[in-house]
């Protein structure tokens, strides 16, 4: 049996899916879009459960709605579980009335019924069942109540074509009935209704001539059909509500109390700054820094033990150097940062799960809009603090093509998790007493750059059309810990796998290029190596913001294309090989003593804002659909980074001279 899980956004659909399926999940993508497609097996059965994207309606105007429509029209579904949010029952049932038209057996899972009770909403389940003519099960996906009943009900459910209540009235009903007779499919009611609404997104043989019916109905109701249909659906729902739901007038909820502070006219933005500052202060500042230093000393110890072991077994010097100075130093320099990333991922996941994110969109929308972006662009930006690749793919939910392109261009400006090591390393050494402030300042710099670039680009290159901002304000929720832990683990694991694959290979490669000269002689001085010559080819490019021609810094910056954390790996390996006895601090190596606070800050800024890694560039290519547009965007990013870095350095140097 195939079961489709359908419901509004924020209805707790994914939590319910997790509870119903346990760990039997397969995650993929819907064809053509990067919206996640999750399939699992219902606990204790072989029934397949498909988690469909969260939607409010089946209109063809958003990618999520289109996916659910196509799924219901084209694939076989035996049973629909429709999740209804008890705290917003009217709006939730609107989707239910549309699902009726597919004539597929359906069960309503009444989620968050405990929360509704707290808000003074009482729902008569028996009454609701008989009015909706389908089984209704109260559940709490968070507290895992009602799940057993749900599963038992699914096992017993009859799969005959159901008899649902009539939604359409009067002339509209007659026209829909007349039209649906001409359609032989099971979902004829849905198609007939949508055709009358003016929706033509159906295979050509289903598009009948409905112009006469439309004119007739429009004249009769003195209104257009989408409005008549929506009115009648909500009239049905209001009847159901009046008979089965009772609620106290305007109860003061916890959400109201919290929002009075969080969304306060004067406090909202200071609180936002404080929250983001705390996130990065905890991750990059003293707490994360301390944990990282612990791991660092562990790696130093492993380094010493391992090289000792290699000497004991009689390994040749080049092999020891490859494994210790290349692989271990390279991979270790990245794994050091795992504790900081765990903190970052954990805090972001907590914010995501609490409902704070949609509030950020609420109070920043005005600013974003001025820059030609909608609140929707905020989602890729927030995902981008983890990794730019999924963030760039998330821009597909933006309907307007120009706004989407602009968002794709801007998303890599957000410092992703791979850039965090660069920030902590440099800020930790050059701004010891102000690590938190300096790291947070880079994030605010990113926001300023994003808005500034957007303003300029909107005017000249990506002239966007207008897209609306209509969004539900969800109630605050105690974060679902299972979700938070899972999300943190997945992101951390992805980072560690990258250290074991890409960084591992890149470490070996740069060790080779550093240890040999063009005649392939091993053991040459580092500034005669192949890599140093390659670096000298480019180093002049970075002179304006480093204040010196450094091949070592130059090659490291370029390696950021492979992966941003590779910059640190490269600096570590070069530093380690240059002073032979590996002092384990990059900045005491003679090759890097030129760094001053000003050039350190400029170096961070350039790495943060210049062309992203190949992975992200690939994602940009895919979203732009053309190599030329992608190259143009990468060029814009790098130019912006170059200008900002140079400005910072020149200004900072001036300050250094004065102070």
């Amino acid at each position: 049996m195939r079961i489709a899980l359908i419901g509004n956004q924020n209805s707790g659909k994914t939590s319910l899916f997790n509870v119903l399926t346990g760990n039997n999940q397969k995650v993929g993508n819907w064809p053509g879009v990067t919206i996640e497609r999750k399939v699992g097996l219902l606990r204790t059965t072989t029934h397949e459960v498909i988690d469909l994207p969260g939607i409010y309606s089946l209109s063809p105007f958003s990618p999520e709605e289109t996916i659910v429509r196509r799924f219901l029209l084209e694939e076989h579904v035996d049973l629909i579980i429709n999740i209804v949010d008890s705290t917003a029952i009217e709006r939730s049932l609107y989707l239910t009335t549309q699902l009726y038209d597919f004539k597929i057996p359906m069960i309503v899972a009444l989620n968050m019924s405990d929360l509704a009770l707290e808000q003074g909403i009482r729902i008569d389940i028996d009454k609701l069942q008989s009015l909706l003519k389908l089984p209704v099960v109260p559940v709490s996906a968070l507290k895992r109540t009602g799940i057993k009943e749900m599963i038992n009900l699914i096992k017993e459910v009859t799969l005959d074509e159901p008899e649902y209540p009539a939604i359409y009235q009067g002339a509209l009903n007659e026209e829909i009935a007349k039209l649906s007779e001409k359609i032989t499919l099971k979902e004829r009611l849905f198609i007939a209704c949508k055709l009358l609404e003016g929706d033509r997104n159906f295979p050509i043989h289903l598009v009948l001539n409905v112009d006469d019916s439309i004119t007739k109905l429009t004249n009769e109701y003195q209104n257009d059909i989408p409005q008549i249909v929506a009115d009648q659906r909500y009239q049905f729902i209001e009847r159901v509500r009046d008979l089965s739901v009772s609620s106290r007038e305007n109860p003061k909820t916890l959400t109201d109390k919290i929002d009075r502070i969080i969304l306060n006219k004067y406090l909202a933005i200071p609180i936002f700054i404080l929250i983001m500052f705390s996130v990065y202060f905890l991750a990059a500042g003293p707490v994360g820094g301390y944990l990282t230093s612990l791991i660092e000393s562990l790696f130093v110890w492993i380094n010493v033990q391992f090289s000792g072991f290699l000497v004991d077994v009689g390994a040749s010097p080049w092999a020891i150097s490859l494994l210790v100075d290349g692989v271990l130093t390279g991979v270790g320099s990245i794994l050091n940062f795992v504790p900081q990333l765990v903190i970052l991922f954990l805090l972001i996941a907590l914010l995501e799960a609490s409902g704070y994110m949609s509030r950020i969109a609420f109070f920043f929308d005005r600013i974003f809009r001025k820059a030609g972006l909608s609140g929707k662009a905020l989602i890729p930006f927030i995902i981008g603090s983890g990794c730019s690749v999924p963030a760039i793919m998330a821009t597909r939910t933006i309907n307007d093509e120009n706004e989407k392109r602009l968002t794709v261009l801007l998303t890599p400006f957000i410092p992703c998790s791979a850039k965090l090591p660069i920030i902590t390393l440099f800020a930790g050494y050059f701004f010891k007493d102000n690590v938190g402030i300096v790291s947070a300042s880079l994030y605010f710099l990113a926001v300023i750059i994003i808005l500034g670039t957007a303003l300029v680009m909107k005017r000249f290159i990506y002239k966007g059309t207008y897209s609306p901002f209509i969004q539900e304000l969800p109630t605050y929720k105690a974060p679902n810990l299972q979700y938070v832990v899972r999300s943190t683990f997945e992101k951390t694991w992805a980072f560690m796998t990258r250290a074991g694959s890409i960084i591992f290979l890149a470490s070996i490669t740069i060790w080779l290029l550093l240890s040999f000269n063009w005649q392939f002689q091993y053991g040459v001085a580092i500034d005669q190596s192949i890599l140093s010559d390659v670096g000298r080819l480019f180093s002049w490019l970075f002179y304006p913001f480093l204040g010196t021609n450094s091949w070592a810094a130059g090659v490291s910056i370029i390696q950021g294309l492979v992966a941003k954390e590779q910059v640190i790996t490269s600096l570590s390996i070069i530093a380690g090989l240059s002073d032979g006895a590996a002092s384990h601090t990059i900045f005491t190596s003679p090759l890097f003593t030129f760094f001053t606070p000003a050039s350190a800050y400029a170096f961070m800024a350039f790495n943060l804002f210049s062309a992203p890694c190949f992975g992200a560039i690939g994602a940009m290519h895919k979203e732009f659909g053309s190599a030329k547009k992608m190259l143009k965007a990468v060029l814009i990013q790098t130019t912006v980074a170059f200008l900002i870095a140079t400005l910072i350095f020149q200004f900072g140097r001036l300050l250094e001279v004065i102070l």
């Binding site: 917003a88 003016g198 969304l263 929308d365 809009r369």
Partner: protein
């Protein structure tokens, strides 16, 4: 005929009833209808964003964030 009020003009403490949605972009209109802004529905203003726009309105027992510009085609009558 007096001034025609629209949802973008809703004020704190007011309770309004929606009459109909006049014109505007088709997708925008459908989205407003889908979110429950249909004829006869009662709406109150819950809060205004710190920068004056968007606004948070309350209808059908839940809260919806909308830009004033997006609801300027929604015709209303002020009840209270």
């Amino acid at each position: 005929m007096d001034h025609i009020y629209t949802l973008s003009e809703i004020k704190r403490g007011q309770k309004v009833r929606v009459l109909k949605i006049n014109g505007g972009d088709l997708a925008l209109k459908q989205r407003l209808l889908d979110m429950g802004i249909t004829t006869g529905v009662m709406i109150t203003l819950n809060k205004v964003a710190p920068l004056g726009d968007p606004i948070c309105i309350e209808l059908r027992g839940y809260r919806l964030l909308v830009r004033k510009d997006d609801v300027r085609h929604v015709e209303i009558e002020v009840i209270k």
